[in-house]
Amino acid sequence: MAEWIRRAADSDIWWSFKSSTLTVVAAAATLLIIVLAFLSPLLAPHTPFDPSTLNLSDGLKPPVFVGTDGDWSFPLGTDDQGRDVLSSIMYGTRLSLVVGFASVVVAMVLGIALGLISGYVGGAVDAVIMRIADVQLTFPAILVALLIDGIVRGLISVQRHDEIAIYVIVGAIGLSFWVQYARTVRGSVMVEKNKEYVQAARVIGLSPALIMVRHVLPNVTGPVLVIATLNLGLAIISEATLSFLGVGLPSTQPSLGTLIRLGNEVLQSGDWWITVFPGATLAALVLAVNLLGDWLRDALNPKLR
């Protein structure tokens, strides 16, 4: 363990990370948001989605630092139902992060699998997979996700949809992002599969599946990791957009996007804090993740050293 830490501290990546102040700040911000979000059941001052703890007379309190109506038990104010905005944000961020991570994993697994098959098998299989990718690339990802959500809604009942909304949205976003992974992996596989070590593995009689997973896959992890980090920000934005449009997570389990939509409905009356604080959290999270992704892309690219 100590040996591993010493080697990590000595590596190029760690050095490049330390020397970029902006990246360190972004990493710290990301970590802080993640920790606060996942510890929300312990840290949040209220449980905003337990109706028995809500009191309508607490409704629409402004944040404590604005005017004199604020209440210290609701530091960022409350919404029209009397829910604490700070607690809602903490629980909402957790959901946004879970959906973001899960949909990136779905896209990654699907993209890597199809890319490996496409690159290794080649021929008609490759042609079919890549043409599907071409057609899907014609459309923006958000449109593909909306379409998948719409199809699922057509197939199952409304109540059932609300129950499984989180899986539907993870699947929809995941399916809308797989193309980039598939193309990258396929490109690397076509290069790698003609090298001697793959031929050697084939000669000792390993199965194609084993060769792909054990020998070819480790050589494509770098670019895949970069795409995954850059996609995480996009996936979080996609989830927020879908939830804002009212086709994502329902208001019984609100993510940041749902919170912004609910706040937007009462924005005309000037109660800005219900919208602005979840919005600022979302922007900070995405900005920090994007900065990390940009840094990782440059750090793993040997041409830029």
């Binding site: 958000i142 909306l146 959500d149 809604r153 937007n264 602005v276 922007a283 900005l287």
Partner: protein, 330 residues
């Protein structure tokens, strides 16, 4: 060149057929068209008769060809939600979306290109660095959040501009326009900025990096040696040579603008096609979804084709060769 155009046309037709197939499967197999047409007390015999009459018992390929012929004539059936013809619903809302996307494009080009040229010519000036930093934040803010913040400042707090709807419109034939009334023009401002902001930062960064590259080339040095004015060098020589990738990206982004209009339209309650699509997803109104998909597919294919052909107009070097190399990233 002719071979290139033909090949591109064939590819476009193939993409359209694929989109048509997806639309057809949606239309035919997700949700039952018969259920949407008849009441609950219709007997099984009547349903079967209707099924036979509509050709729903034909082999799937025959139905697909029928579907394509109908789509080509703009016949997409009735909406499950309102029972209106889908084509009429889309046609009523199309002008709103097209005018919004048009204004957003104007905004992007009129601000994005000059900002890109400026930050490319003076990359180390503090104002360029400021523009760069703002553009990074602009990319990280989701479209709907920008719209909400604009509404909060300019509509709710300052009361300068309207926050929803198209304001006053004038009807010319079947086209309703915002351009002829002051209220209509005011209503366009905030949605256009919201819709265009992401593309603005994209175009700005693209023009900037292209300008940085071009300004290092020999022909720019030579133009300076000839004693040309800065204006002639910057715009006549440098900007002109950055245009090929800019046209590609701007063209492809025009399609993205129209597709992303659905988010902006929802924020500003703008009665366009995108809002119609969101409503159809919420109610799983399959005929409207299928029609919107076909429409957007056609739009993207046409835009891709026009962008490819524009290369020849902009870059004379390509006319001699067999085909245009794909420039810029997708």
């Amino acid at each position: 060149m002719l071979a290139f155009i033909l090949r591109r046309l064939l590819q476009s037709v193939a993409v359209l057929l694929a989109v048509g197939l997806v639309s057809f499967f949606l239309f035919r197999y997700v949700g039952d068209p018969i259920n949407a047409m008849v009441g609950q007390d219709t007997s099984q015999q009547e349903r079967d008769a209707l099924r036979e009459k509509l050709g729903l018992n034909d082999p799937a390929p025959v139905q697909f060809v029928h579907f394509l012929f109908n789509a080509a004539q703009g016949k997409f059936g009735l909406s499950y939600r309102t029972s209106e013809p889908v084509s009429r619903m889309i046609l009523e809302r199309l002008p709103a979306t097209i005018e919004l996307s048009f204004c957003a494009t104007l905004f992007v080009l009129f601000f994005g290109i000059p900002m890109g040229v400026y930050t490319g010519l003076y990359p180390r000036h503090w104002s360029s660095r400021l523009l760069q930093a703002i553009s990074l934040i602009g990319v990280s803010l989701p479209t709907f959040l920008i719209g909400i913040l604009l509404i909060l400042f300019f509509a709710v707090i300052l009361h300068w501009l309207p926050s929803f709807g198209r304001g006053e419109t004038v009807t010319i034939g079947w086209w309703t326009t915002n351009f002829l009334t002051v209220k209509g023009l005011e209503a366009l401002i905030l949605p256009s900025i919201t819709l265009g902001l992401f593309q603005l930062t994209l175009i700005m960064r693209l023009v900037r990096s292209e300008m940085l590259e071009v300004m290092r080339t020999d022909y720019i040095k030579f133009a300076r040696a000839r004693g040309l004015t800065n204006r002639a060098i910057n715009f006549g020589h440098a900007l002109k040579n950055t245009l090929v990738p800019v046209i590609t990206v701007a063209g492809l982004q025009l399609g993205a603008l129209i597709a992303f209009a659905l988010v902006t339209e929802t924020v500003f309650a703008w009665p366009g096609v995108g809002q119609l699509f969101i409503q159809s997803v919420q109610f799983s109104d399959i005929p409207v979804m299928a029609a919107y998909l076909m429409l957007i597919g056609l739009l993207f294919v046409v835009i891709n084709l026009v962008v490819d052909l524009l290369y020849f107009a902009v870059d004379p070097r390509l006319r001699g060769q067999g085909g245009a190399a794909r420039v810029g990233s997708h």
